[in-house]
């Protein structure tokens, strides 16, 4: 077998089971960093040996065995960890039994997701930790996606993993009593990866562009692991609806196109259908939540492709429901815009006026919404000021250009 062949086989094994292998090893030792080191060495060994010996029949089991050997070595050579050697040996025995048995090894990724989004972990570290441990994305790539230096991101990840080990954060799916709050941390961490990617979706070359796709992958993993959790499906449906419109957000020349002016033939139908299917399944659980409501709003926007128009009164109702269970300035602003679109323009502006000053000083969507509403009301001078302010608060060049264009119409 060629070296390239081995490379391809290793890559395939990593792609399919990196997160499962890390989760399996870490759930038994409580030490994510040690699990990563051990698996990293196992992968190097595979690259060396598979070209000569051929790819093993069960590549994951082979990697698991190699990783266990490395864990034993590490325990022997590390004075401090010597006391944990017995545990490591037991893990190794379990790994060997699993490798010898024909069945696969248990999937512990859900526990790993809950560890990454544990309340004792710094919220800023949760998403990067998930991306690295569950999807195997390297720290430098994550760093560029979160606009921090690779050194700073590595440090953040190391600190989080040390905390998991030293503080004794358990690898466990929370009891139902705590579950809904703990699940919301997992969902929020995945969604924050998605929104970070979404904001700069125009720049296909940026690392953030790929981040949105990775967030969808995490969302799929979560649905696979918790098929009966409606909010997991709600989150996946929300992300899929947004992903479906990714290409339609910009013209061929890169100009920003707002949602209600997008060419619906450029929306990705299969993703919309998949989102709808998840939302329907979620609804059968009869447990509404923030992500299902947000996905339902996107679902109504998606109907424009079929109906030719948007049911804005329905969107107003959904935002009102959303504000009840998950208050937030984003939903308040979106509800105001929906009111305006539903022929309730003065109410929309009143809703914007009601938001306290200190919350909107540098909140870009507020100024964009305000500018549009004032423009529709014919208050050109105030609209110009709001649109200019919105343009100065965005970091997306295409949006900035769009807002300045709208502002120019006011003069």
């Amino acid at each position: 077998m060629s070296e390239t062949g081995a490379h391809v086989a290793v890559e395939a094994a990593v792609r399919n089971s990196y997160g499962r292998l890390i989760a399996y090893l870490a759930a038994r030792s409580g030490d994510v960093a040690a699990a990563e080191d051990a698996l990293g060495d196992a992968l190097v060994a595979a690259l060396r040996r598979w070209p000569e010996e051929g790819v093993p029949r069960q590549p994951e089991a082979w990697l698991l065995q190699a990783a266990r050997n490395r864990l034993i070595d590490a325990a022997r050579h590390d004075e401090v960890r010597r006391r944990s050697e017995e545990t490591v040996h037991r893990i190794a025995d379990q790994a060997r039994q699993l490798a010898e048995s024909q069945g696969g090894f248990p999937d512990e990724r859900l526990k790993l997701l809950f560890v990454c989004a544990h309340p004792a972990i710094d919220p800023a570290s949760r998403t990067p930790l998930m991306l690295q441990t569950v999807l195997g994305i390297d720290a430098a790539q994550i760093a560029s996606a979160f606009l921090v230096s690779p050194a700073a991101m590595s440090q953040r990840l190391v600190r989080a993993k040390t905390k998991i080990r030293d503080a004794g954060i358990p690898f466990r799916v929370p009891d139902p009593a705590d579950e809904s709050e703990r699940i919301s941390f997992v969902l929020d961490a995945i969604y924050s990866a998605y929104t970070a990617g979404w904001d700069r979706a125009g720049d296909a070359g940026s690392a953030l562009y790929g981040l949105a796709a990775e967030a969808v992958a995490l969302g799929r993993t979560l649905v696979e692991l918790m098929p009966a959790e409606p909010e997991a499906r709600g989150l996946l449906a929300l992300m899929l609806h947004c992903e479906a419109r990714r290409d339609a957000r910009y013209s061929a020349s890169g100009a920003f196109i707002p949602l209600d002016q997008q060419d619906t033939s450029r929306w990705q139908r299969p993703m919309i259908d998949e989102a709808e299917a998840h939302l329907r399944t979620a609804a059968t659980e009869n447990r509404i939540g923030r992500y299902q409501l947000e996905a339902a709003i996107q679902s109504i926007h998606a109907e424009r492709a079929v109906r030719g128009s948007t049911d804005w009164p329905q969107i107003v109702l959904l935002y009102e429901g959303l504000l009840q269970i998950s208050p937030g300035i984003g939903s308040e602003v979106s509800r105001a815009v929906a009111l305006a679109k539903a022929d309730r323009l003065p109410e929309g502006l009143a809703a914007l006026d009601a938001i306290p000053e200190e919350r909107i000083v540098s909140y870009q969507p507020y100024w964009a919404a305000r500018g549009h509403l004032l423009q529709w009301l014919g208050r050109q001078e105030s609209a110009l000021a709001a649109l200019t302010r919105a343009a100065s608060l965005t970091d997306d060049p295409a949006q900035r250009e769009y807002l300045f264009r709208r502002a120019a119409e006011c003069q």
Binding site: S29, R90, R165, G168, P170
Partner: protein, 122 residues
């Protein structure tokens, strides 16, 4: 794993904690820890004004009154508990009678995760 529950009080709370209700709540909490079999040790602390600091510098013992360093919060008490993991420690910290107005720092004892790896993985 063994965890220290460190109770931090503001100066105002520090001076007002010796009322009968607070003392009774503290006693009941200690009894609950013992009944659950997780109590290793601990107790409340007198004011920093009662503290004396010892250090050895250049082979000489130095004893000082204090510390009197100005601080927003003072260590008012500590408990050491032995529980399977952080979630269990956080549960106990949340039950501490001072948790509703002061803050409880939950910190693992040094190296504790190695010695109890056995329990964790079972």
């Amino acid at each position: 794993m063994k965890y220290a529950l460190l109770v931090h009080h503001t100066p105002e709370h520090f001076d007002n904690r010796n009322n009968a209700a607070a003392l009774a709540a503290g006693r009941a909490y200690g009894e609950a820890l013992q009944a659950a079999g997780v109590f290793v040790g601990g107790g409340g602390l007198e004011s920093p004004r009662a503290a004396t600091t010892v250090s050895i510098r250049d082979g000489k013992r130095q004893v000082q009154d204090g510390p009197y360093a100005e601080s927003k919060e003072y260590l008012a008490g500590f408990g050491i508990i032995d529980v399977p993991d952080l979630d269990a420690a956080l549960e106990w910290a949340a039950r501490h009678p001072a948790a509703s107005y002061a803050s409880i720092e939950v910190r693992p004892l040094l190296g504790s995760h190695f010695s109890s790896a056995e329990k964790k993985s079972s």
